[in-house]
């Protein structure tokens, strides 16, 4: 009964005009940011995080979640119209979306992408609304060993599911964990701060986020004259866009499978929308009766990719709120925003802040309406040529980065830290390392560090036995090891296949 009252109050709070305004603003910003390649959801949320300083926690989180979710919508538009995914999670959409554009079916493809995104998102948020209470009850049984393992899993899984080098992703993630331990330790000692008071509370998350996500990308943009450079023009048709809103019956199995897979992938710490869309596209292709159409303009392909990456966001946000461990780098920033507002996500957070949690979920559901409007408007107006010169865009984003980093604590130290992180992030991106893994590490490090020290205090010299003697901890450990082994086997067989193909090519 209590849950229903909190749920009702959450919906009432989310329907107030201030909350609705935040949804509209967040949606407009997110859709616009999604259209610009290079502005990923993480980068956009990090860039606008400083604007939430003076907002209430609910309004701040609603604003950021609206940006996070709508970036995916915006990104799909350019993926379909210009063969340029606005963010990595839309990369798969280009395979069939752009083919449909070339066949003169752009508006229809846009309609399918918008509708499958909305339906996928709605299913995942409703699932989250109905299950978050139960999941939080289970999570309340988590002690220091379980929380430590979940935090470590967040970084490790990134290495396992990522597409880049495992060694480099692991090095990046663990390096993030290491620098995240800088600051005052729970034992009262100052660790690696060199007596700098600005580092006493650890590495400030906002400058690190802006530096690693935003500034490093701006440095990469320096080599391009235009962010998008295309001369493709397509027919504008609102009727065709709306026609895509009724998904054909034969695409429903693919939609349902992709949405289910998206929700599950979203629940995994660190997996994210990109992994979800790739996995669901590959599954849909394997199980489809029209698999030969994939890559040549398959409607099913667009639906599989877009429904999965949006369905992923519900699971992603739930993992973040319930466990206090981000489901992706972007929700890591949302976690940072909660911390900034004095809130600590985790099992207790869901139990103690039920109205706020249900308010966030309610806002995610309501905001879908604004997202449809923004996406249709953007799809209609974008159906022409779009080019953004970097000489205008980059200096403006540099300004936002500098002022955002400075305003978080009114300290020039934070701007310098942001610039250092930007330079390191740039070098990492150019050499195949993962700045996102560093950020995940920095965010998860205080959780892992504090829980480990609590384990020392609780279990004494036999602390490591707690990982195998506690059933939930043993299960998490087994799952973690299984994920790593499965990933290693997958990579090994992929490598063998590559070698086999190469040798075959030589023989021919």
């Amino acid at each position: 009964m209590d849950t229903l009252i909190h749920m009702q109050q959450g919906f009432i709070n989310a329907a107030q005009w201030q909350a609705l305004l935040m949804m509209i603003l967040g949606t407009l910003i997110g859709t616009f940011a999604g259209i610009i390649p290079g502005l990923s959801s993480g980068m956009s949320v990090a860039l606008f995080l400083p604007l939430t300083f003076t907002m209430t926690p609910l309004h701040g989180i609603i604003f950021l979640i609206s940006i996070y979710v709508s970036v995916g919508y915006g990104g799909a538009l350019t993926a379909i119209l210009l063969n340029t995914p606005g963010s990595p999670q839309n990369a798969v959409t280009t395979l069939d979306g752009f083919e449909l554009t070339k066949q003169g079916r752009a508006a229809e493809a846009l309609g399918y992408s918008i509708s499958s995104s909305v339906y996928g998102g709605l299913v995942s948020y409703v699932a989250m609304l109905l299950s978050i209470g139960f999941v939080a009850t289970v999570a309340l049984k988590f002690g220091p060993p379980e929380m430590f393992l979940v935090a470590i899993a967040g970084v490790t899984v990134l290495g396992a599911v990522g597409t880049a080098s495992v060694a480099k992703t692991v090095a990046s993630g663990v390096f993030g964990l290491l620098i995240g331990t800088i600051g005052i330790v729970p034992t009262g000692e100052w660790r690696a701060t060199y007596g700098e008071p600005y580092l006493a509370e650890g590495l400030p998350i906002i400058p690190v986020l802006i530096g690693m996500f935003v500034f490093s990308e701006l440095m990469l943009m320096a080599f391009r004259e235009y962010v998008i450079d295309s001369t493709i023009t397509v027919k504008r048709s609102l009727r065709d866009i709306f026609r895509g809103f009724s998904l054909p019956a034969w695409t429903l199995p693919a939609f349902l499978r992709s949405t289910g897979l998206g929700v599950i992938v979203g629940l995994l710490p660190a997996a994210g929308g990109t992994a979800a869309s790739f996995a669901s596209y590959s599954l849909a292709r394997k199980m489809s009766k029209r698999s030969e159409e994939y890559g040549k303009g398959s409607v099913e392909g667009v639906i599989a990719s877009e429904s999965a990456n949006n369905a992923c966001s519900g699971g992603d946000i739930m993992t973040t709120l319930v466990l206090g461990v981000p489901g992706s780098a972007t929700t890591g920033i949302l976690l940072g925003a909660l911390t900034m507002h004095g809130l600590q996500a985790g099992p207790n957070f869901v139990a103690q802040q039920q109205t706020l949690v249900y308010g966030i979920i309610a806002a995610a559901i309501i905001s879908q309406v604004f997202m449809v409007a923004a996406a249709v408007f953007a799809a209609y107006s974008l159906s022409g040529t779009l080019s953004v010169p970097t000489r205008i865009l980059v200096p403006i984003l540099v300004l936002f980065s500098v002022i955002g980093a400075y305003a978080s604590r009114n300290a020039a130290f934070d701007v310098y830290l942001m610039l250092v992180c930007g330079a390191v992030g740039y070098l990492m991106k150019r050499t195949g390392y993962s700045p996102a893994a560093v950020v995940m590490g920095v965010i998860l490090s205080p959780i892992a560090d504090n829980e480990l020290i609590r384990m020392f205090q609780l279990y004494g010299s036999d602390w490591y036995l707690a990982f195998v003697t506690r059933p939930i901890a043993a299960c998490i450990l087994a799952l973690l090891v299984a994920t790593l082994v499965w990933s290693a086997i997958g990579r090994f067989s992929a490598r063998k296949q590559r070698v086999w193909h190469t040798q075959g090519g030589i023989a021919e």
Binding site: P50, L51, T54, T163, A164, S165, A167, K168, V170, A171, V174, F175, L177, L178, I179, T181, I182, V185, T187, E189, R191, A192, T193, Y194, F215, M219, L220, A222, F223, R391, I392, V394, P395, I396, V398, L399, F400, V402, I403, Y406, A407, N410, A412, V415, Y416, L419, G422, A423, V424, L427, R430, T431, G432, A448, D449, L452, I453, F456, R495, R498
Partner: protein, 163 residues
């Protein structure tokens, strides 16, 4: 192997070593100021340091064996498309804000930010100085107002007293 190829492969190796060098330097600095810590405070970072160094070594071995996955090879070898890693433009984007933030207390935040946007445009190509200056003022003024009057950020005023 020709001289050109040797130079190219040496340059690629140096490029591959850039991030490991940055990370190892950070690890050394971390250890330098952590020698005094208790066992409880030290065990987690020590384990992490061992893993970081192992992973960096592993990445280097993978590179030296030429066993780089295709996606990564693309990312790492984009000198032609992405420009050289030491190209001036991206590093000027770091130098300009660093210099202007250092001058916040002298210039004041508002003029420094206008110079930042103007200078940022100049780094790419200054087609019309007057237009660039107008764009800088048009962008900085509302941003500054939002942070100053809506978010109550405190900015140094500088000698002009605008902050």
């Amino acid at each position: 192997m020709s001289n050109g190829q040797q130079t190219q492969s040496r340059r690629q190796l140096l490029r591959e070593l850039t991030v490991p060098c940055v990370m190892v330097t950070a690890v050394v600095l971390f250890v330098w100021d952590s020698m005094h810590l208790s066992y409880e405070a030290l065990v987690f970072p020590v384990v992490l340091i061992v893993i970081v160094l192992t992973a960096l070594g592993w990445a280097l071995v993978v590179y030296l064996r030429g066993d780089v996955p295709p996606a990564e090879a693309l990312k790492g070898g984009d000198d032609e498309e992405g420009g050289p890693i030491v190209a001036a433009t991206p590093w000027l984007l770091i130098a300009l804000p660093a210099a202007l933030v250092a001058s916040f207390n002298i210039l004041g935040v508002l003029p420094a930010l206008v110079l930042l946007v103007f200078g940022g445009q100049a780094i790419f190509s200054l087609r019309s100085p007057l237009l660039s200056l107008l764009i800088a003022i048009a962008v900085v003024a509302p941003t500054y107002a939002v942070f100053k009057y809506v978010l109550y950020a405190r900015f140094p005023a500088g000698i002009l007293g605008i902050g």
